[in-house]
């Protein structure tokens, strides 16, 4: 084992510190996001999660890892992409932690960094979604899926053809994209909002304190 791999408890590697700072920045947007420090590790979230069987880290472990200063492990996990946003954990948490919203914050942190999204290209779906909305103001499901499959694996799309045809037969599939009338105004709103959102990697790398665990949230 290399000497730099051994971490002294209480100090963080530089990369870890940067990721941690980025994540904490994301949690600030969530009203009540600071409640993450109130976790009592009861695992109600893990017990309630419908997709926990397919996860590599359970939701309870996720918070434990955050406290232990292991954000990078979390961001590399399958867990954050597997969350189906069913909100069961969040509605049952006895400490009132917004678990689903925190997983959203983790997703956002990971999406801003290219190296963290290679393994699970779920963010491609979000990107296609954003493009669709920016273009027309409304979503066209068929176009969204087409864009997504072109990006992630062209051959996958063939398995969707039978379903697509069935939908077409039932008049439930339209390839025509409907633009809203005030699309210009809508784009202006989005442009302005994007400016206000947290800037991407590199823009904010303020020095962080060497504090581990929930003490790092004031």
């Amino acid at each position: 084992m290399k000497s730099e791999d051994i971490r002294i408890p209480g100090t963080l590697s530089k990369r870890e510190a940067v990721l941690r700072e980025a994540f904490l920045e994301q949690t600030k947007v969530i009203p009540g996001g600071e409640k993450i420090k109130a976790c009592i590790q009861c695992a109600t979230c893990s017990g309630s999660c419908p997709v926990v069987y397919a996860m590599d880290i359970t939701p309870r472990e996720l918070i434990a890892l955050f406290r232990a200063g292991e954000i990078e492990t979390i961001l590399n996990s399958k867990t954050i992409w597997l969350c189906a946003s069913c909100y069961t954990c969040q509605s049952r948490c006895p400490a009132g932690i917004k678990v689903t919203d925190i997983i959203y914050a983790l997703k956002r942190t990971a999406m801003e960094r290219k190296d963290l999204t290679k393994k699970y290209p779920v963010n491609k779906l979000s990107q296609s979604f954003i493009k669709s909305i920016y273009k027309a103001g409304r979503l066209n499901e068929a176009r969204l899926l087409t864009r997504y499959f072109i990006k992630t694996g062209f051959w996958n799309s063939f398995s969707f053809i039978p379903l697509g045809l069935k939908m077409l037969k039932k008049h439930r599939l339209s390839l025509k994209s409907v633009k809203i009338k005030n699309i210009k105004g809508f784009r202006k709103i989005l442009n302005m909002a994007q400016k206000m959102d947290i800037p991407l990697e590199g823009a904010r790398l303020a020095p962080v304190g060497e504090v581990v665990g929930y003490k790092s949230i004031s």
Partner: protein, 300 residues
């Protein structure tokens, strides 16, 4: 009485039946749904997980449009319902955020002051109109129809809006009062997988299969749902599930407004029932039956 109405993207494409049946049922009950002019996508769950303020701005553009009409905003899609509600709640409780979002909205000539109540049609039917009034319009009682009432996730979570978070009973109350049979359905709140069906199909197929299995074991004639994405996952993937798990499901998945519409005597075409993949035979028999005439004494 009037409500403003936000259909959402999927009700204009893959789930026109939900849109049609919602409008038809409300019209029959003498309640008007006024569609927001030039509404845009609410941002859905995916958008919310990317950019918080962009998502909030896109959702509150609709809230701003609804505020002008000064009525409660009704939205049938569970995801739109959660997102619009969430945006409203976040902005109402956080002045800083409200200012920021309004700066964005100003670019598009809109403003939101936090005065819109976002409602779901189920909430309006049960709590504003009331089961007793609906019973007055009853034409074809759902005698003996076994409906598995599936609520899914985003209608009642994360915040308690109009029903219990662990055991909601709105749909049961509605359908049992017009003749449907009670069905034990413990999976009524279990997640169907949502967008995971696109990104992690194997994980989602198992969730959906469990829900269908539970309805099948309890002899349900159909599953009633409130969410377009749940309807899609439960209905369109039954073939794949049958192949993957060796089952033989062909359970009709209907929107709750479609079932209610039939009971109120509306023809199936007006409710978009023919757009569903599986036909519910028992419901078809009810649809073709003679309308029942209420005697004055029968009215409470």
């Amino acid at each position: 009485m009037k409500y403003s109405y936000y259909p959402g993207c999927s009700l204009h494409s893959a789930h026109k039946g939900y849109d049609q049946s919602c409008k038809a049922v409300f019209k029959l009950l003498d309640y008007e749904l006024e569609e927001l002019e030039d509404w845009n996508c609410c941002g859905a769950t995916i958008y919310m997980s990317i950019k918080e303020i962009t998502a909030l701005a896109s959702a509150s553009a609709n809230l701003a449009l609804a505020e002008k009409l000064n009525k409660d905003l009704v939205t049938p899609c569970s995801s739109c319902y959660t997102i619009l509600n969430k945006a409203h709640r976040y902005l109402k409780n956080d002045n800083e955020l409200m200012k920021k979002v309004n700066l964005c909205l100003k670019e598009g000539g809109l403003q939101y002051n936090g005065n819109v109540r976002v409602r779901h049609p189920l909430d309006v039917l049960i709590n504003d109109i009331g089961v007793e009034i609906i019973k007055l319009y009853l034409k074809k009682p759902l005698d003996g129809l076994r409906i598995a009432n599936y609520y899914g996730c985003q209608l009642i979570r994360p915040e308690r809006a109009f029903d219990d978070k662990e055991n909601p009973l709105s749909m049961e109350n509605l359908f049992e009062s017009i003749g449907a049979e009670e069905v034990y359905f413990p999976y009524k709140l279990k997640c169907c997988g949502g967008m995971l069906m696109t990104t992690f199909e194997e994980a989602a197929l198992k969730l959906t299969a469990e829900i269908l299995q539970s309805a099948y074991e309890n002899n349900a004639d159909c599953i009633s749902t409130t969410c377009p994405l749940c309807q899609m996952n439960l209905e369109a993937y039954q073939n794949k599930i049958n192949k993957a798990f060796g089952t033989s499901f062909n359970i009709p998945i209907l929107f709750f407004t479609q079932i209610l519409g039939i009971a109120l005597g509306l023809p199936g075409e007006e409710l978009g029932i023919e757009k569903n993949f599986y036909e519910c035979k028992k419901l078809k028999v009810i649809e073709n039956s003679k309308p029942f005439v209420q005697s004055a004494q029968g009215v409470i």
